[in-house]
């Protein structure tokens, strides 16, 4: 603590340079925070997927349907506890740019399968009692200023005509990263409107198993049950399913790591150069410190502390700005299911800034430590 005035005084001797270095850290960490937020948005399904939930889709593709009667056969497979199902709808609300996921769900079983989505009992009851009822996620409801009792017209895409829904409930997530953009309505209602060839067909099954350790066995059992049938299945964990969706958007992780690596390497050079200049400018002063009794380690730590302090101030500022931006809401107007910067990337960002501060400051600090007092004083 008693060295802090010396460290701060040194940092403030070239205010513009220090501000620019802190600024470069802030910009880098702000960018890192935003990239991490986008990564979370794309992979949130993976992160929040239930460990005990499996998904069953058509082996050909998720857009190919499965027969509803599979439900009873799946339920009979040992280890399966619950089954629900849903269909993708893909309708248009007022304008095509108004995108949000719409699912036709089984009103009897869907809510129990997803306890992370919270809906008041009276709202769920009203939804169940109205065949044209619907439930919207809070993000979507807020975005379109819907309130309970509103009538929501959605134009079909693969089914012609406009479907009118009565909004009976708004669900919330229990965690910040839960997707609250979905819109649910009765599968029965959709099934009524389907052409004869698609009647009693569903998009996918979601099932809960008794023990996540049995996932591999249950997965295999389901796919073997429907092997060589007209509708072969592909069963996977919900996490794997979400990951395969995320992969369709490209390798976000790779993009994030690549940009992050370039940014941090650049920062390393910028900060290393700044600290090297700072040490060179202060050769005489460092020699004086050694003359009055500062040991080598103290000189090393002083220079290193400056570098680390710059990194932490800039990094902290950048990540705080990124967090503040995410708290203001999704700037993409709902294109992303969540816009949330969790604590883990914040900690990772601060740790990365700290590491860059240490690495960038080490060489200048080491050269300051090795400074020969007599030679340095001769140059003053």
């Amino acid at each position: 603590m008693k060295f802090l005035p010396l460290i701060f005084a040194n940092l403030l001797r070239k205010k513009v340079r220090t501000a620019l270095t802190i600024g470069s850290f802030a910009v880098a960490l702000f960018l890192f925070g935003l990239l991490a937020t986008i990564r979370v948005a794309f992979s949130q399904g993976v992160d929040v997927a239930g460990a005990d939930r499996l998904m069953v889709i058509n082996k050909v593709s998720i857009i190919q349907p499965l027969p509803l009667p599979y439900r009873d056969r799946i339920l009979r497979i040992p280890g399966v506890k619950q089954v629900t199902w849903a269909n993708w709808f893909g309708g248009v609300y007022v304008d095509e740019k108004n995108f949000f996921p719409q699912f036709a769900v089984d009103a009897d079983t869907y809510r129990d399968m997803y306890p992370e989505f919270v809906i008041p009992d009276d709202q769920w009851k009203a939804f169940r009692e109205d065949r044209a009822g619907a439930i919207a996620g809070k993000l979507t409801a807020d975005k379109y200023h819907w309130k309970i009792g509103d009538r929501i017209p959605i134009r079909g895409t693969f089914l012609s005509g406009v479907f009118e829904f009565n909004l009976h409930g708004i669900y919330r997530g229990t965690r910040p990263q839960d997707d609250t953009t979905q819109f649910w309505f009765h599968w029965d209602y959709l099934n009524e409107k389907m052409p004869a060839s698609y009647k009693n067909m569903i998009g996918w099954y979601t099932l809960r198993i008794e023990n996540p350790d049995q996932a591999v066995r249950v997965t295999r059992a389901i796919d073997e049950t429907f092997a060589n049938s007209p509708y072969e299945t592909r069963t996977m964990t919900e996490k794997a399913m979400a990951a395969s969706f995320a992969k369709q958007m490209g390798n976000i992780e790779f993009v994030l790591l690549s940009i992050g690596a370039v940014v941090f390497f650049t920062l390393l050079l910028v900060t290393g150069n700044t600290m090297a200049i700072a040490v060179r400018e202060r050769t005489g002063e460092l020699a004086v410190l050694k003359t009055v009794g500062f040991p080598d380690w103290a000189v090393l730590m002083l220079v290193l502390a400056e570098s680390v302090l710059v990194a932490l101030l800039g990094g902290g500022l950048g990540i705080a700005l990124a967090k503040a931006l995410t708290l203001r809401g999704d700037p993409t107007n709902g294109l992303l299911p969540v816009f949330y910067l969790p604590p883990q990337p914040i900690a990772a960002g601060v740790a990365a800034a700290l590491l860059v501060g240490v690495v960038a400051g080490f060489l200048p600090a080491f050269s300051a430590m090795r400074l020969r007092v007599v030679e340095a004083l001769r140059r003053v």
């Binding site: 008693k2 003359t291 009055v292 500062f294």
Partner: protein, 239 residues
Amino acid sequence: MRIGGGDGDGLIKVRNLDKKYVRGSEEIHVLQGLNLDVDKGDFLAFMGPSGSGKTTLLNLLGGLDVPSAGSITVAGDEITRLSGGKLTAWRARHVGFVFQMYNLIPVLTAFRNVELPLLLTGLGKAERRKHVETALGVVGLGDRQQHYPRQLSGGQQQRVAIARAIVADATFLLCDEPTGDLDRRSADEILNLIDLLVRDHGKTVLMVTHDPRAAERAQQVLHLEKGVLVEGAPSALRA
């Protein structure tokens, strides 16, 4: 003080001190077989032409450099046997340095500059403050504690440097051309201050100077000629 050494129990004992530098294939002997005894409370001035080894001798006495041969013993510690951290710790405890160019840290106030040697001691904040205020009071700058070096005259900056040298109660002071960058009046003030430290506070001072008027304030003037010590008297210098 004795040139040539002896068996006395002086504060500083220098025996057969050699210092040579190697530049390429050339060996430069800066100090040769130097012997010296300095008693507590002595005020010595070293004079000599440029390159005669004055600053090198000061650096060796202050533990900033190591000799090629010979020994230096200060208050019973043979510092030529110390190295690295031990030598640094010894320097912090025993030596106060005063340089020609003051060598203050420009971004620190007078108070913080003087406090620097105390930061590595176990003293608490209040004790450090007390020591710094005392040291600045001794040099007559008690009212300039919060001034930065750029806000002080050359003479005042040198007084801050002296306060920094005495704040940790050093065993002896090494002054390298302390008046070399000052006008006559400021130089006299600094020399009066050094006199005061020797006379009233019992400090031992070894000073390198080119200025005969500064040298005549010392109790004894020693001349360095090509790395060898020669005794001289202030009266002789005046002549």
